[in-house]
Symmetry: C2
Subunit: 295 residues, 2 copies
């Protein structure tokens, strides 16, 4: 299967599962469910859920064994965007070319919809783990997602990101922000898919290393696109990081060095995947996709 | 042991565990951990964690077997208060006699601290369940807490609460709000404590019924106290529900009928506990405490 066909097929699988696993708008409280669906079902790359599936497939598992967890990772990502976009945080009006959640539903519902998505995510991972995982690993799988999403992961990155606005950040702080804000969730996506289907420890270690490099590359490319991309491609105004005085790779290292670092990280991702052989081919494709994407 | 001694001893146990399980302020990101600790460690009744422990003890379990989950329930409660108090929600400056989280740390950190507490709560429940629960129930225990906290529980109640502000609500809507916003988490506290230590299904059913009545009684008494209490007793300005045009029991049913309903619910709680015999004595005491408290 070509990478494009793989991505399309897996995106369709994830989109159908998200639609099924999110409560319908007709179920009370309707406003909350409408708001949750508005953000989660917005057009998107579905990178994290596809990585959950690719992680499972890389160790011989099936997509159908990890779909709830895949959707959970997308919900955690979506909740973080909803809260990030709030006036109290980044104050963004547009996301993926559409009005942000709070611009449509108001700040209160947006906060609660984010809270509910994070909550639902843990329910789905617990359901999924109870259904397929070795009982000895259920607790560990949930704990690692929590660590990747909380102050030792994504939230930690966001806190330092906010605190660094308008300041000159060191390369070390920039790496801390990117590794925590973005790479932690991408890394745990690969790990979770693999661990749910009973991967060997060595394979989980290989996916962990690949996930961290891929996650960091993803955020560096994001930073570059924010400088170079167009509104049409990004669905948001380019240059918004600079306007918000965000700590970015191009701001700290310049565009050329940023591109070289992203390229190097993609190479590292592929090297880490070597022990997994051809079963990891889709992840290698995803790595190229992350580097070459225009939005 | 007298009820007062029981409450004191268990509160001390919970407070020590919360202090141990919350990351220290010196661990990065320090601001987030400081903000989380500020709200969770604020003086409080610790009703939910004590109910987790009492639920375990009522079926022959030990406090030490359920401490992480007990703390998790308090963290979920604390996160909901932090987000509730935000300007975009109830816009409260004081809580338990101290400045609310966002008044001290700013809205952005308050949002993220709430998110992080919810995340940490699921990690702790997963850890606790993996440590002591029958593997067959780990998924179910986490799922039921998620249901009690999400749109089919607490968040659902908050959404309808917000949507009902300034409107005349029916007794049915009022019950929906109270049962979801408050009772769901109190009920699941008792259930979780019992299920973690392997309670029989009949005992879990009895605790579920007791928890629902107790939870509803708790919120009705809260509503009454908001009308009648003093600033000194409540740590917040009395009458704030009326000012915010919140749907409350006294507003819909009058004070006398509200008191009678709370009394009836406490009696129901005790009837539901009958099959559990003397092991449920602390929960009966907690029920009296909920009815008689002045703050």
């Amino acid at each position: 299967m070509s990478l494009t066909a793989y991505l399309e097929a897996h995106k369709a699988l994830v989109d159908a599962a998200l639609d099924r696993l999110l409560p319908p708008e007709t179920t009370p409280p309707g406003t909350a469910h409408k708001s949750m669906r508005y953000s989660v079902l917005a057009p998107g790359k579905r990178l994290r859920p596809i990585l959950v599936i690719a992680g499972a497939e890389a160790v011989g598992g099936k997509a159908s064994s990890v779909l709830e967890a895949a959707c959970a990772l997308e919900m955690i990502h979506a909740y973080s965007l909803i809260h990030d976009d709030l006036p109290a945080m980044d104050d963004d009006d547009y996301r993926r070319g559409r009005l942000t959640n709070h611009k449509v539903f108001g700040d209160a519902i947006a906060i609660l919809a984010g809270d509910a998505l994070l909550t639902l995510a843990f329910r789905l991972i617990a359901d999924n783990a109870a259904r397929v995982a070795d009982p000895a690993f259920i607790g560990q799988i949930i704990a690692q997602v929590a660590d990747a999403a909380g102050t030792f992961g994504m939230v930690g990155g966001q806190v330092v990101d906010i605190e660094s606005e308008g300041m000159t950040v060191s390369p070390e702080t920039l790496d801390y922000i990117h590794l925590h804000k973005t790479a932690a969730l991408i890394r745990v996506s690969l790990r979770t898919g693999a661990m749910l289907v009973g991967a060997r420890e060595a394979d989980v270690a290989a996916l962990t290393e690949a996930g961290e490099s891929l996650g960091l590359a993803f955020q560096i490319v994001d930073d570059i696109l924010d400088v170079e991309g167009s509104l049409e491609e990004l669905g948001k105004t380019a240059g918004s990081d600079a306007r918000k005085q965000k700590a970015t790779y191009p701001a700290v290292h310049g565009i050329e060095k940023s591109r070289a670092r992203a390229r190097d990280l993609i190479a590292r991702t592929k090297r880490a995947l070597e022990p997994l052989g051809s079963a990891a081919e889709p992840i290698r494709g995803l790595a190229d996709f992350v580097y070459e994407r225009r939005s």
